[in-house]
Amino acid sequence: MRKPPDTELLEPDAEKPSAEPSSPHESSSLFGRFSRRSFLTQLGAASLAATTAPLAHAAAMTPAPAADIDGKVIPGAVPVALKINGQVHRVMLEPRVTLLDALRENLQLPGTKKGCDHGQCGACTVHVNGRRVNSCLSFAVMHQNDEITTIEGLAQDGELHPVQAAFIEHDGFQCGYCTPGQIMSASALLKEPIGKEDADVREAMAGNICRCGAYTNIVAAVQQARHSA
């Protein structure tokens, strides 16, 4: 008995620019007009255009009308309202869509990363009601009354969160893939009753794996953020 692929919901147009108002932070001057994601998306579309029919190009470049996200009924999908970074998003989701996949594939908030998808690496860490959790191990439909914060919503009023600033100052990354999860984890840690030592930070950050091994700089960044908080 073959399971339906997890990506059944995620048709190619899920990666298209959304007609939903995007997060204010995504297009803020903080990160410039073009995000890495939008650049890559357009690059992908451009290379597609070079090799396939013009029609495919047009389809890939046209923003999906709101109905495509808000109105499309997928068998088994249910209406879900999620409050993310202060903004309510209404989408149709199958109950088996995780919060992580909903953020990345349905809500165009790809800052939250998918690593192991089994709660072992911490790349998908977000805040739910101010507490850090693994968004890969939770179904989106279970979070309708929650306040969710992702890496896109951490900076406030154009100011980096102290943890973000500290990661930059201490070079707390190499490839950067684990970094959103590290930063979400560290920013939640500031409110947790943990000890003062570097060893306490290491233990409290144990749920976030960095395969580049930037741990020394990550600990330094977290400690600086704790001292300045």
Binding site: D6, P95, R96, N134, L137, F139, M142
Partner: protein
């Protein structure tokens, strides 16, 4: 992952009558659903039930709601002060993110980390009764040395439950037939010929609370966990010890082990070896020997026998040295 029907419940009565598998934190269940190890046709979300409080009981004990998150329980002032072993066990388990999600009831019911159980390409009597066990002759370094059968050698992965075993916790449930209270010691089943049946819960029965009895005045406790990494790893062997001394004589002792048994493993043999004895290394070693006497190691896990003994000795030393 297979599709499922999803519903939310706001009352315990409705939850007990609902048709489907309960989901709370989801940290075990969602993981296993992604692996197609768990394939529920329906999920009943119980996060809306009023079971998220920690309260003192009239007898001086503690009543913990089934939905209390592991991090809240670990940091609760009463738990940190009076039930140190429980706080330490919780904080040694999983990661901060997972502890913010995982619940008290769910932790008791978490499934084994046996590789063969988690991979549907292999035979597993726990996952698919009657299919066989690929762990017994496979890579079984992490597997059980206590309580195993020829049908299953998988360990129970919980740290919290090991501490609760040493604290003589009681599990309270509500099911289609009403309420009942089950001593945690009687809650888990060894695999025998039915490894798929891990506890005495009946279909539709919901864990509502766990209660801890008050401890004798001056009782000390400690959880020591030994594992391949310093953090964020399951136990190869762990020891939960609860000890009350009178002078240097042991008045009361409770010993439980994790990482070595097919269920959180309480050792009454070790407790008897400690009862009334002088608290010294000789006594502790005798208790550790008694605890591991029934051990039956597999090809790759003989080291666990001595590791578990040393865990008990060390935990007892730490617990009694400043008393």
């Amino acid at each position: 992952m297979q599709a499922f029907q999803y519903s939310q419940v706001k009352s315990i009565d409705v939850a007990v009558g609902a048709n489907g598998k309960f989901i709370a934190g989801g940290t075990t269940l969602v993981d296993l659903m992604k692996l197609n190890v768990e394939k529920p046709a329906a999920l009943v979300d119980i996060n809306g039930l009023p079971l998220d409080r920690i309260e003192s009981t009239p007898d001086g004990g503690l009543r913990i709601g089934a939905l209390v998150r592991n991090s809240d329980l670990a940091w609760n002032a009463d738990v940190k002060q009076r039930y140190v072993v429980l706080s330490e066990a919780l904080l040694s388990g999983a990661s901060p993110q997972l502890r913010n999600m995982a619940t008290t009831g769910g932790n008791l019911l978490q499934r084994t980390r046996c590789y063969y159980f988690r991979d549907t390409n292999y035979k597993c009597n726990k996952r698919e009764p009657g299919s066989g066990c690929d762990a017994i002759d496979g890579f079984n370094r992490i597997h059980a040395i206590l309580g195993a059968s020829e049908h299953c050698v998988a360990t129970h992965p919980s740290d919290m439950a090991v501490a609760m075993m040493a604290l003589e916790a009681t599990v309270h449930t509500r099911g289609p037939k009403g309420e009942r209270s089950i001593a945690l010691n009687d809650f888990y089943l060894v695999p025998g010929t039915t490894p798929d049946k891990e506890n005495v819960l009946e279909p539709g029965e919901l864990i509502t609370y766990v209660t801890l009895p008050p401890l004798p005045q001056g009782t000390r406790s400690h959880y020591l966990k030994l594992r391949d990494r310093a953090s964020y790893e399951f136990a190869l062997a762990s020891a939960a010890v609860v000890v009350q001394l009178s002078g240097n004589r042991i008045q009361h002792a409770r010993i439980a082990m994790g990482g070595v048994g097919t269920k959180p493993w309480r050792s009454k043999e070790a407790e008897q070896a400690l009862q009334g004895k002088e608290a010294n290394e000789h006594t502790f070693r005798a208790a550790a020997e008694a605890a591991l006497k029934p051990a039956k190691p597999l090809r790759d896990n003989a080291f666990k026998v001595e590791l578990a003994r040393r865990a008990i000795v060390r935990a007892l030393q730490v617990t009694t040295q400043t008393a």
